[in-house]
Amino acid sequence: MGKFSLKGRNWKQFLSDNKPVVVLLILIITMSFLSDRFLTWSNIITVLRQTSINAVIATGMTFAILIGGIDLSVGSVLAITGAIAASLVASGMNIILVIILTLLIGLVIGLLNGLLISKGRLQPFIATLGTMTLLRGLTLVYTQGRPISIFGSDTSAIFSKIGTGYFLGIPIPVYIMLVVFFISWYTLNHLKIGRYTYALGSNEEATMYSGIKTDNIKLFVYAVAGVLAALAGIIVTARLGSAQPTAGSGYELDAIAAVVIGGTSMAGGIGTIFGTAIGAIIIGILDNALNMLQVSSYYQDVAKGVVILIAVLLDRKQRKSR
């Protein structure tokens, strides 16, 4: 009996510490009453696969927001890396090489963002707004405004498996998402650079005074955001079998929403990868649920906006009462 009530208390404590989980549970329970197709295995798999792209981007965004910054360029990075990946695949290059090259491009773009922000002393919002526009333009130049198909070489089919394939009944992008979550969680909680990331977001001065090169941390953080956006670019391109010059527009906002719903503070220093994962799944479920319920697309955004606000409000209440 005593043991039982203790368990119940831990459960309660967990929920009150993790309001986003409560929102997620409410969504799932409500939905399972409204649609009998919602909690089917195939739909769960679909939601997770759809979520993976935003989740990967949002994980990178979490790093940026944790240091009190932001990366608006992720959608454009996704577009240009996707386009480059598609043309490389179509040219018949080795798939492993394509992936490495594409991620490297993401890394370089991320480092560029980091340099503008650290050495260039630009506001993260302004710097990444600039690269966002610049990269979108470069994507149009590179693609000549046309979509690039990945098909046309022997390796195309293998590449498309990254987005469309399954392993043990679970889609490959879901594995990618889980690996990204795990590595990021480990980095933030068990590596020096992760600790410094939190410290930098909490108090930049004190971090610098502790003998830490804050500029290097910023470079690292934006590089992570760039690489993960490129990874998302690979997944999207592989899923669709072609790279769209307009791909990823507005994705930065979904990523920011996932991060914020997950309880990460826009001021930096507070937040977890677990929260972001929940946030991304909430957004994924919402998109899926509203489709399932045949909500008119005009109302979908209204409902989505309301849920985002409620999720964030719940979290704020929690924080204040501490």
Partner: protein, 303 residues
């Protein structure tokens, strides 16, 4: 006190999802008895053209007693794929897709094919996957129609401006192709060719810039009416006399043609595309054979 607030927010959350669902889903769900459930994935519902397409499809579905589920891809191929997957999970009988892009829609078509659900494409075609029927107005023919009209009105010579749609969009490509084909072999010269992304505000600003740069312009062809109407404002403000031809025949554009402000607009019949689409879908589901390509007529609207 805190708990109350917490509870209220949680309740609001349930209502936000629940009400949005019931509010719109209720009427459609009823159509299920005996009739077919058809999914319609539209590239965007932020454009009156596709709204008309949906309305045409909805009217036909109501008439034939079928249930129609409409989803909006917001011009994003990945969202489109998600929408199709969601429809597959709902177990609809047939999916009509108005693709955001002919290449990228391949995965979505494949997803439906994989579940054994037949696919009909509307307005834009799919470059891969199994599609039982494609229903569209012929954009190349429409562009050509506009080009021929301008050639005729200008007597075969003059300076023309082409306002292009979103770079890479198939409509922009095809209309431009048709238009330029019509100009070939005439003395018409395209002095400026710029994109205004199918957007009225951009049509205005792009046209303003062109007017600054080009002293002599006789006619403007815009890949859609939104851009044409934007250009019209710029031209009115400049006080110059330039002929404008649009595309799509939206309500605003038709009114402008009647007022003599636009010379012409190419009318697609989006409602027809929608309703023919549903008609074809039902035929497919009833086991009848249908043509692979079903063209929908275009017409030139002039004063």
């Amino acid at each position: 006190m805190n708990k109350k607030m917490y509870f209220a927010l949680a309740l609001a959350l349930v209502l936000a999802v629940g009400l949005a669902g019931c509010g719109t889903g209720g009427s459609d769900n009823g159509g299920g008895e005996g009739g077919y459930t058809i999914g319609l994935v539209v590239s965007t519902l932020n454009n009156p053209f596709f709204v008309d397409l949906r309305d045409g499809a909805q009217a036909k579905a109501d008439e034939l007693g079928a249930s129609l589920i409409v989803l909006d891809s917001q011009d994003d191929a990945a969202t489109e794929l998600s929408n199709v997957e969601d429809l597959v999970n709902q177990g609809v009988d047939l999916i009509m897709i108005n693709p955001t892009d002919s290449d990228a829609v391949g995965s979505a078509v494949a997803a439906a094919n994989g579940a054994g659900i037949p696919v009909v494409t509307l307005d834009r075609s799919a470059n891969s996957g199994e599609v039982v029927a494609h229903i569209a107005s012929d954009n190349v023919a429409g562009g050509e129609m506009a080009g021929e009209f301008i050639v005729e009105q200008l007597g075969g010579a003059g300076m023309v401006v082409e306002l292009e749609g979103i770079p890479g969009a198939s409509a922009a490509r095809e209309r431009g192709e048709g238009f330029n084909a019509a100009l070939e072999g005439t003395d018409l010269e395209v002095v400026a060719r710029q994109t205004a992304n199918f957007d009225r505000a951009e049509g205005l600003s792009v046209m303003e810039n062109i007017l600054q740069a080009q002293p002599e312009i006789d006619a403007v062809f815009a890949h859609n009416d939104e851009m044409a109407l934007g250009a019209l404002e710029a031209i009115k403000a400049s006080g110059r006399d330039i002929m404008i031809v649009g595309f799509d025949a939206t309500d605003d554009a038709v009114a402008a043609v009647e007022a003599g402000e636009l010379a012409a607009t190419v009318q697609q019949l989006p409602k027809d595309i929608g309703s023919i689409g549903v008609d074809t879908a039902i035929k497919v589901l009833n086991g009848e054979t249908v043509d692979e390509y079903i063209p929908v007529a275009l017409e030139l609207v002039t004063q």
